[in-house]
């Protein structure tokens, strides 16, 4: 019942932060995205990967695979930052 009420209220642009299920879920999602797609964190991982390779703790193959994955993550992180996913526009005009 709470969920239905919540969704209905949301359609009219009425939200009660903290009690609103969608708002709460969005906060969790945004936090997870920030953690996953923090460009600075990904850049640090790229540098660490390079350093461990140079120190002989990784094979060339391991280094290249991890580096390609991290560069892809960096691209997504930059895109995420540009898109600013925390702003959502409702079709009924509520934000």
């Amino acid at each position: 019942m709470f969920i239905i009420d919540d969704l209905l209220l949301d359609q009219f642009g009425i939200r009660i932060p903290g009690l609103n299920l969608i708002w709460t879920l969005e906060q969790i999602r945004d936090f997870a995205l920030r953690e996953m797609y923090d460009p600075e964190k990904v850049k640090s991982n790229i540098k660490e990967n390079r350093m461990l390779f140079e120190l002989g703790e990784m094979t060339t193959d391991e280094y290249e695979k991890t580096n390609a994955k991290l560069l892809q993550e960096l691209k997504l992180a930059k895109r995420e930052a540009e898109m600013n996913l925390s702003i959502r526009t409702d079709i009924l005009g509520a934000r």
């Binding site: 850049k43 640090s44 540098k47 660490e48 350093m51 140079e54 120190l55 703790e57 580096n67 560069l71 960096l74 691209k75």
Partner: protein
């Protein structure tokens, strides 16, 4: 070349670094992007080292960053350099020279600081098996204190890994590199339990930070 987000037919001038203007225009060979000739232009007593290249967003890509780095390192064998950030391409010579006129004072100051000097890098990190060693602070101050005495300037850099105890760059006179290396040898012996990465000589990337025509860090610098 990496993904092109602009007009891929547009050609411009890519800048690798700045040097003091040589007596006459100089070519460093076909080592630029796309095998283009790397050569000098002239602005007052400075010479930007450039090649013809696409005007686009240069994305971080191992091969291209490496190419930029190799050109700058090649040039620094014979010249003092002010490194320019990766990815700086100008639509034409006029715009490049305009940027240089805007940054002329800063470039002169930077050049006076790096003349006859190179950058050396030191990273100290914990071995894989012993991430909880408790001598980190003492170790870091030992390294910094000893190496500051052998350098003109030093800069502590970000500890980008949990295993890093110290990450620093040092600006060292070309003729004092051996002194610095001797000191490093002593420290390596003292801290034989740690992994140490001593690298260089590099262009003075961490000691020149000129930003022109860009509010964003990483612009023309």
């Amino acid at each position: 070349m990496s993904e092109d987000t602009g007009n891929n037919k547009e050609r411009g001038i890519y800048v690798y670094c700045m040097i003091k203007a040589p007596a006459q225009k100089k070519s460093f060979g076909n080592m630029g992007f796309g095998g283009e000739d790397v050569y000098t232009l002239e602005y007052r007593d400075f010479a930007p080292v450039v090649s013809t290249a696409a005007v686009k967003n240069y994305e971080v890509n191992d091969d291209e960053v490496e190419l930029h780095r190799k050109v700058v390192e090649h040039v620094m064998k014979e010249h003092d350099v002010i490194p320019v950030a990766y990815g700086m391409a100008f639509k034409n010579k006029k715009l490049l020279l305009f940027a240089m006129s805007a940054g002329y004072k800063a470039m002169r100051k930077a050049m006076s600081e790096v003349t006859n000097k190179v950058e050396l890098g030191v990273k100290v990190l914990l071995p894989k098996e012993d991430a909880s060693w408790d001598g980190k602070e003492k170790c870091k101050s030992d390294f910094m204190e000893a190496l500051k005495n052998k350098s003109a300037q030093s800069k502590e850099l970000k500890l980008f890994s949990d295993r890093l105890v110290m990450n620093a760059a040092f600006l060292v006179d070309r003729d004092k590199i051996e002194d610095f290396s001797d000191e490093m040898g002593k420290l390596e012996n003292k801290y034989a339990n740690l992994k140490i990465q001593y690298s260089g000589p590099w262009p003075p990337y961490n000691f020149v930070d000129i930003q022109i025509l860009s509010k964003r860090k990483g612009g023309f610098r």
